[in-house]
Structures are given as C-alpha cells and as structure tokens.
Symmetry: C2
Subunit: 353 residues, 2 copies
Amino acid sequence: MDKKNRNPSIKDIARDAGVAISTVSFVINNRDFVSDSTKKKVLKAIDKLGYSPNIIAQSLRTRKTKTIGVIVYDISNPFVAQIVRGIEEIAKQRGYLVQLGCTFNDLAMEERQINVLINQFVDGLLIVSGRDNDKIYRKILKKNIPMVFVDKEVDGLANASVVIDNVEAVKNAVDYLFSLGHRKIGYISYPVSKQTTVKRRYEGYCKGLKNNGLKVNPEYVVMDEIYFNQELEGKDMEITFEIMNKFLMTKKVPTAFITISDLFAYGLLKALRINNFRVPEDISVIGFDNIIFDNYVYPSLTTIKQPKKLMGITGINLLIDIIEGNKIENSTVILDTELIIRESTGPAPNEIT
Amino acid sequence: MDKKNRNPSIKDIARDAGVAISTVSFVINNRDFVSDSTKKKVLKAIDKLGYSPNIIAQSLRTRKTKTIGVIVYDISNPFVAQIVRGIEEIAKQRGYLVQLGCTFNDLAMEERQINVLINQFVDGLLIVSGRDNDKIYRKILKKNIPMVFVDKEVDGLANASVVIDNVEAVKNAVDYLFSLGHRKIGYISYPVSKQTTVKRRYEGYCKGLKNNGLKVNPEYVVMDEIYFNQELEGKDMEITFEIMNKFLMTKKVPTAFITISDLFAYGLLKALRINNFRVPEDISVIGFDNIIFDNYVYPSLTTIKQPKKLMGITGINLLIDIIEGNKIENSTVILDTELIIRESTGPAPNEIT
DNA sequence: TTGTATGCGTTATCAT
DNA sequence: ATGATAACGCATACAA
C-alpha cells in the first residue's frame, strides 16, 4: 500500500537508502564531502525508485526558477521565430527553461503577460522587439528584475540591449540604390513614433538621401496608420499589398522602394506584379530582415540582413550573465547588418522625359 | 528595517490586516463564507502592500502548475507557428501558461525535453506533429500524465488527438488534378515510415491514382532520405530545391506535382523557374498547409488547407478538459481540410507525341 | 466566520 | 561525514 501514486521524494530515497534526508540532498547537489559508500547507496535508491527532483520545490526554496520569460509580439513572424530559435538553443545549453509570451503588439496584454511572469516565476525577462511600453519597463527595472531588450532601444531607458545600427543599415541601402542610379527612392514603414527602431530606420532613410544630395519627397513615403489597427495585427503583408495596390494605381511612383521588413516587401512585390510593374526593371525593392523566404519569392529579394539567431543568442547570454552575476563586458551590444543583394534590385530605368 | 526586499507573502498581509493567514488565503481564493468587513480589510492590505500570490508555492501545495507543455519540432515553421498561436490564445483564456519546447525532430532531444517538463512541472502535454517517438509516449501514458497529439496519429496508440483526414485530403488533390486532365502526377514527400501522417498522405496519393485508373509511377515519386539528415533540419525548402533542380535536369517530368508541405512546394517552384518550366502551363503544383505566404509567392500556390489555428485551439481545449476532469465528447477529433485553388494549377498541357 | 497547525519537497544551518 | 530541523509561501483539515 504505497502512499498515493505520487513521484518519490527525497524523503522516500532517504528511507530506502537508510540515510538522512539531508544526505540525499547533498548527494543530489554533488557536495564533495559525502563518502563514496553512502553516495553509492543513495544513487542506487534514486535509480531504483526512479527519483527526480521536484523543480517546484527547488524553486520555492532557492528563489530561483531557472526560467527566462521571453516576450515577443508574434511567434508566427519568421523574423521573431529565428530570434527565438537562438534563445532556445542557448537557454537549453545553460540549463534554463524558456517561457514564451506573445503580445500581438497589444500593450495591455504585454503588461498582463509580464506581470504573470515576474510574479516570482522567472529569473529574468527578455523583451523582443514590439512596440515600446516604457511604463511597464520602468516598473520591472524598479523591481530589480534582470531584463534585456532585443531589437529594441527605448529612448531614455538605460538598459541592457542587443540591437543593430538601424540608421546605418538603411543609409547603406539608400547609398546602394543611389549608386545604381536611383534618384526617386520611396520608403514604406510603420508610422514613426511608436517604436524607437522604426524611428531610427527613418532617420537612416533621411540621412541617406541627404548625404547623396537628395531631398525627402513625402509623396514617396508611405506610413499608413492602418498598420496599427489592432484587428489587423500580424497582417503586414496583406496591409502593404492593399496600400500599395492603391498607391500604384493613383500616385506617381519612385524607381525604388525601401521597406522596413521583408513582409512589407512581399506585399509590395505582389502589388507591383498585379499593376504590371517589372522588378527590378521598372522598380527596385529592398526588404529588411533576410527571412528564409527571401530566396524563394519572385524575384528573390534584396534585403538588409539582421543576424536574427545571433541576436537571440547574444540577448539570452547577456541576460543569463546578469542573472548569475557574471561580469558583463558590454551591456549594449550592436550587431552588424549586411546588405544582401538579390534579384529585386537593379539599375534605375532610363527616364523618358 | 523590513526583512529583505522580497515580495510580501500572505503572512505579511495577515499581519497588516490583523487577521489570520488562512483568512487571507480564503479571500484570495474567493471562498464565499468570508464576511464582507474582513474581506475588505484584507483586500486593502493586499492593495497596500502590492501583494500577488506566489505561483511556485501554490503549485507545490496544490500539485497543479496550471502549465501546459507544448512540444513542437520547429517554432520557426509557419505551419507550427499558427498552431501555437491557437494554443496560446486558449491557454491564456483558460488560465494556463504554455511551456514551449522545440525538438528539431531530434528524438533524443524530444525525450529530454519531455522529461524535464513532466518532472512535476506541467499538468499536461501537447505533442504537435514531428516524428513519432512511441517509446516516450508510452512512458508518459503510463505515468498518467494527460497528453494530446496534434497533427499526429501514432499507430497502435490509443490516445486523444486532433488530426485531419490525410488520406482523403491528398486523394481530393489527385482527383482535382485528374479533372484538369493530368495523367502524370508526381509526388514529393519525406520518405514514408517515420511518421504516420506522412504514411497516410502517401496512401491518399496511391488511392487517388488508383481510383482514377492510374498507376503509381515510381519515377514520379520523390522521397529522398536526405530530408532526415539532422544537419539539414528545418531546411525543407532548400532541400527540395536542390533535389528537384537535379530531378528536372535529368529525369522525365510529370505534368503535376503534389507535395506534402507548402515549403516543399516553394522549393519546387524555384527549381521549376530556374529550369524554365512554366507554372501552371507546363507543370501544376499543389502544396499542403496553406501558410500565409502562399498568396505571395509567384505563382500563388494551390494547396490543401489545414485549419492550423483551429487545430491548436481544439487540441488545447481537449487537453485542458482532460486535465480538469471534464467530460470529453470525442477524444479523437478529425478536422476538415479544403483544397484552396490558386494560380499554380491549371489544365494539363497538350502532349505532342 | 475565523484561527491554528500541518505538510507539500526542497535547501541549508547547525549539531553531532 | 551525517543527521535533525527550520524555513520557503501557500492551502486546507480541523478546532474554536
């Protein structure tokens, strides 16, 4: 008649091995002062009863959960998914569990999610991208919970983060288009203001134009508020397609577009195709992220590559280092981007004036 | 001098409100017999001290973690990601946390992941797709841990699951191609045998041909072992592209291909383009899954739609019902598929013999 | 209706 | 080197 059918505890092991409960604990935790003979006894009992430590109890006792909370806006976004892959990989390696939370860019939901997680449930927080939510971040920092941002700088918030140089990245893309002869360069983006990242990229666009002696032509800049419509969350491709489909039918078009994500670019490519623009003969297109489909859309997409997996890896390593009190070399890491040139960009068309 | 800087516990609340610790617990758990006046006192103290329950301690005490373990093979796969979205949505709604584990189709890793999770850490397990791993599943069932399969039937394992009718789905696709005049219908798949799902789809292919009076021509069936190369995990598009690129250069080609996932189809489309086959004029292509990019590749992809989000939703609802001891109507749910017709399929070309 | 006391499975302190 | 025991924060059986 064994007491219920629950998992054996350290107490059961102690009884079976004929030692004290604390001794078992010592063996489990590899304390070096346990004699070989008792250790063997304990190990045998552990094996016999099929014991494994109760993580919950350990957490309660040690006040460490060995769990990282990761907040993303949409796990089905390929850019995000790659970052998460990197995170998972390292977390496993360093003995941490990953607790994923999706916000779908709903700030209230993000706050709720974070609150659940930090209720003594995670040792630290990794915030991946998404819209800025300063209030809640400040609250976390005040609670002294380790937190690292990935692909996100929050203005005026001194915090560990892993980012790319967004200004430089877009500026390079502009330079490249300029070198191909393009003088009318369009830009498709979320409206600036809600995310530092988005702001920086637009700065890069403006700076790139200026450096090459060009002016920003508002007619070529598309930043529709509809991107922020909560109903349409996760539909960047579709939205861009709709917007640009109208745009191409009614407006003067530039000879090239830079977009702030590959998904935007996919929507644009489709709109161009439907409106009988050839890419890149009539219009060149540059995306952002270098997600795995870029090589498989037609034409294959020139893009600004972000080191997605590395961003995840770097972020979680940084976070775990902070949690474990290791020495941090740099609390802000800036990773390199690279312009990947594929078929969607080419020389500017000769204008017939 | 407050003891450390830890979160307030119910003990602190009790002291502040001048009631017993159990009373606080009663209030928190909404027991109806607490008088309004004491309840108010307690609530005030809770608010004042900023208390929130320690989930770890609750779990230890109640032996319930309100956490679901979800095992997937690759979170960056758009098909999987959509299922997970559905899971997350319902889990949140019903008060559960989701613990995600990626296996990358590594059976040993899957076993390790599952072992971690079921160490008193999750109330139940949701196994999404991926290769069959019978041994470990049997072990879990023996432990009486609630488990539900999504997009997976394991032969000879009576277990709750959410699936589609794979045989019927592919058979319908064959019928459709036949009705368009196709008589040489190819098939691209993982090798059968490692996954019941993959087997069933091939059955559907064979059955479909047979029903229409056609024979399986092995020359038109591509099932390369290289798909199982662990190094190449997650590279279905790339692998298919390579394989089919060679195939198209060296073999006789059918007038249509059915593939077991949209990613395969994307790789095929690219190979066809490079080898100057027109789609659908020369060759028709049918994918499987209906992931969000199908409308944005060129030509847009005809595919067998799986109700991905619904599969996730159904699976987690089933699992939570089992966990909570609710009455289950059907422990095996079969959801409908639908053939979504887009640009990649058309009439069979006229053969010039 | 409210309070007291015990135990969930650990870790860690202090004896021995 | 090992054992006895308190404590982590909570839920609950039982007493009041």
